[in-house]
């Protein structure tokens, strides 16, 4: 397994070199969601990385609607091709564009909405020989990752330490709340805040607003490095560490030192990371279990003998049924009625009348009929013929 990380200044880049990183992710503010580096500084970093013999991975991960996309394409086209070795993209539109306009290898970020092997294989097939890496979702658990790395032809990567992006909106949500003078003083184009809500079990979400919109992060970082052996077993090829919110990347050096030791205590490494951490879904993902309980367990229609629904109970005189199927109801029909609690009742039709209380010889779909009252049944009960 190899490590990859971001560099946003020369100091970072030197440190990565010192830690023997063979690849670095570089980008600039117009193409990247969170990097503040200017275009010129980015070019310089690319040149420096080249002198370090590091592969430069250009990350273009902003989402853009058509009108914003066009200027980004021009900026991208202006980057000298010799300065980067591969391009890392997320939006299918960007993927399509770079497939058609460059011949660079592609690292595809499949972190959002790619939670099945079938889909990943279609991406593999579509991007073909240009695909050099798939960046997998942190919502996959370790067993799934292992299954995928075995089944995919392409090398894979996972975020193993860094902030967890929870929310990405194109709207500027912080600046309306920050006083304009303070904004001017601070620069105005990159606002940071911390948000807490009584309604959320977590407090202190880091927030960032920049030219691309607003981003919210988890209060704790994802950290899987203390499960290094488990990571090895997954078959992942690349581990990404994203410390772009920190002043410096010195943790990378610490990590390097730890990994150079014959053995180390994983808790020490976690402590050295210096932030509160979560393991996310690495062990297991049961995120579809809880909300199944939200489902409305109304009585669901099940079989072909469905007749309709009880709409009124006038105890002890009658109950009114709305007939919702083509089946006919007649005097002496045997019925099974299931009330909204799921309790079943069986009864026979003794009389059938219309709304004017006149006898009904036969019924049709859509009709409202009155029949004899049955205890325990109430409105919304479902009625079936019981043959």
């Amino acid at each position: 397994m190899k490590f990859i990380s971001y560099a946003t200044n020369k100091h970072d880049l030197s440190l990565l070199k010192e830690c023997s990183y063979s690849e670095v992710i570089l980008s600039f503010e117009d193409l990247n969601r969170l990097i503040k580096t200017s275009y010129d500084d980015f070019i310089e970093l690319c040149q420096m990385a080249k002198t370090f013999q590091m592969r430069v991975i250009l990350e273009w991960d902003v989402l853009a609607t058509e009108n914003d996309f066009a200027p980004k394409k021009s900026l991208f086209d202006s980057i000298p091709a010799e300065l980067y070795d591969a391009i890392r993209v997320q939006d299918p539109g960007v993927l399509e564009y770079v497939l058609g306009t460059t011949d660079k290898p592609i690292q595809f970020i499949a972190e959002t909405g790619n939670h099945n092997l079938k889909g990943l294989k279609v991406w593999e097939e579509y991007i073909g020989h240009r695909l050099e890496r798939l960046v997998l979702s942190i919502e996959l658990n370790k067993d799934k990752i292992k299954e995928y790395t075995c089944a995919l032809k392409t090398p894979t990567e996972l975020l193993v330490a860094g902030r967890v992006l929870l929310f990405y909106s194109p709207r500027k949500l912080l600046s309306p709340l920050a006083l304009s003078e303070a904004k001017a003083e601070y620069g105005g184009s990159f606002l940071e805040a911390v948000g807490s809500s009584e309604e959320s079990p977590h407090k202190g979400f880091p927030l960032v607003e920049n030219q691309h919109g607003t981003f919210m992060f988890h209060i704790k970082d994802l950290f899987l490095l203390d499960r290094y052996e488990q990571l090895e077993q997954t078959g992942l090829d690349w581990l990404r560490i994203d410390l772009r919110d920190r002043q410096d990347l010195s943790f990378l050096k610490t990590l390097h030192e730890f990994l150079a030791k014959p053995s180390f205590h994983s808790d020490d490494l976690k402590e050295a990371y210096g932030k509160e951490v979560i393991r996310g879904y690495f062990q297991t993902n049961k995120s579809d279990v809880l909300f199944k309980k939200l489902k409305n367990y109304r009585v669901q229609r099940k079989d072909e003998a469905y007749i309709g629904e009880v709409v009124e109970i006038a105890k002890p005189e009658y109950m009114a049924l709305e007939l919702k199927s083509h089946l006919h109801l007649k005097k002496d029909s045997q019925l099974k009625i299931i009330n909204p609690n799921g309790k079943e009742f069986f009864c026979k039709v003794h009389f059938l009348k219309d709304l004017a209380f006149d006898d009904l010889p036969k019924t049709h779909k859509g009709q409202l009929v009155l029949m004899n009252y049955m205890g325990g049944v109430w409105p919304k009960s479902q009625v079936y013929l019981d043959s």
Partner: protein, 400 residues
């Protein structure tokens, strides 16, 4: 110049709501089965209801689209085959899908037409081109796309384009919010969104020494594109969609009625220069909603599109009090009561076409003729005859 009007696509959170939407003028409805969608808490459709819903809609010339737009995991895909074959067999008109694995599964196993869900955040021409190559025939573009951009996507990618015209807005790029996943253990992209963006937050700006207490800074105003329907038409948008499968019968009826009336008006007159527009706008304000905005339809959504308020019902809100269930010999109208009303109240009946019918309640009677002063939910009552009312018309009343 008169142009083709788009399809009006309405939400159908249940079989009843499907019928309401179709009866009130929707050209198409979208709905979810018991699995694979994004509205786990909605009633959704059993297979039998789906079959009945498709028959009902088709008989009235409306199309049915089924959402399978969760970001499906492997085990979901394993269960999908049988369901999509059933959908193919009952002849639904399209499925609405978000991820590539689902698209591939559907293409391999069925002949179903595939629409790309807004959840996939298709934002530009290149993206639409890619999805088209994957077998998609229509893209529901991201809510961040303007009408003008959508027109470009349609023209350049040569693909059908569907856009949201009305309803609640996700503040994030669709599919790009996992707040619920990581704070509540509920996958927002498989139907478990906890609506954390509607919470009240207190914010600190440590570097600026600022604090902003009690804000709903992530909550979006609702979308309403009624005023820019002409732009949708001029842009050649194929389908305009109303959000809200979880919303009420009254909402389903109002949306289908207002937007279909507006589109019909355009078909007839070739323009919207009409005092009718005010009347339609008024109607849209009568269902529970957050303040309306045009979001990104014309310009980029700015600070004015943030609904910085606690969710609440407005004084203008109406409530559905019942449904017309029959007429007795031009003498009385029978109503299935959903919310109580009193003698001497004034109720309004929403006919499928035409103006609202108002009716003062001189009397309310039980079916057996006994007069009562106040109706009870889940009962049938007779009110004075309302000329023009039809079975299944929604009965509403201003909230008191």
């Amino acid at each position: 110049m008169k142009r083709k009007v788009p399809e009006l696509l309405a939400p159908a959170g249940s079989l009843d709501k499907l019928k309401v939407a179709v009866d009130y003028g929707a050209n198409a409805v979208y709905l979810g089965g018991l699995k694979f969608g994004l509205r786990s808490a909605a009633e959704n459709f059993t297979k039998q209801e789906l079959r009945e819903g498709v028959d009902y809609a088709h008989a009235k010339g409306a199309l049915v689209y089924v959402v399978l737009n969760g970001f499906l995991h492997d085990k979901d895909l394993d269960e999908l085959g049988e369901f999509i074959q059933f959908l193919d067999q009952i002849k639904i008109d399209a499925v609405i899908v978000s991820d590539l694995g689902t698209i591939a599964t559907i293409s391999e196993q069925t002949n179903l037409e595939i629409h790309l869900s807004t959840q996939a955040s298709c934002l530009n021409i290149d993206s639409a081109r890619l999805w088209k190559k994957m077998g998609v025939t229509r893209v529901v573009v991201g809510r961040e796309v303007s009408i003008a951009e959508a027109a470009l996507i349609k023209k350049e990618a040569q693909i059908e384009v569907e856009m949201f015209v009305h309803g609640s807005m996700c503040m994030a790029y669709s599919g790009n919010c996992v707040i619920s996943n990581f704070t509540q253990g509920r996958d927002s992209n498989r139907g478990g969104c906890a609506h954390s963006c509607r919470f009240e937050y207190s914010l600190d700006f440590p570097k600026m020494g600022l604090a902003a207490k009690h804000n709903y800074f992530m909550s979006s105003k609702d979308l309403s594109g009624l005023r820019v329907l002409e732009e949708f038409i001029a842009a050649g948008i194929d389908s305009i969609k109303v959000e809200g499968r979880m919303k009420s019968h009254l909402y389903a009826a109002t949306m289908a009625k207002v937007y279909s009336q507006a589109l019909d008006y355009y078909e007839e007159h070739g323009h919207f220069l009409s005092e009718k527009l005010l009347e339609w706008e008024d109607e849209l304000k009568k269902v529970t909603h957050r303040t309306y905005a045009q979001a990104n339809l014309i310009d980029k959504a700015n600070a004015d599109t943030i609904f910085n308020e606690r969710e609440h019902d407005t004084e203008l809100d109406y409530v559905m009090v019942g449904r017309v269930i029959g007429q007795i010999e031009d003498k009385e109208t029978v109503i299935e009561v959903r919310n109580a009303f009193n003698q001497y109240d004034e109720v309004e009946i929403l006919p499928f076409k035409g103006s609202v019918l108002k009716q003062g309640l001189n009397h309310i009677k039980l079916l057996n003729g006994q007069e009562i002063e106040r109706s009870k939910p889940s009962t049938l009552v007779k009110i004075p005859y309302v000329c023009g009312a039809e079975v299944n018309n929604i009965v509403r009343m201003r909230k008191v």
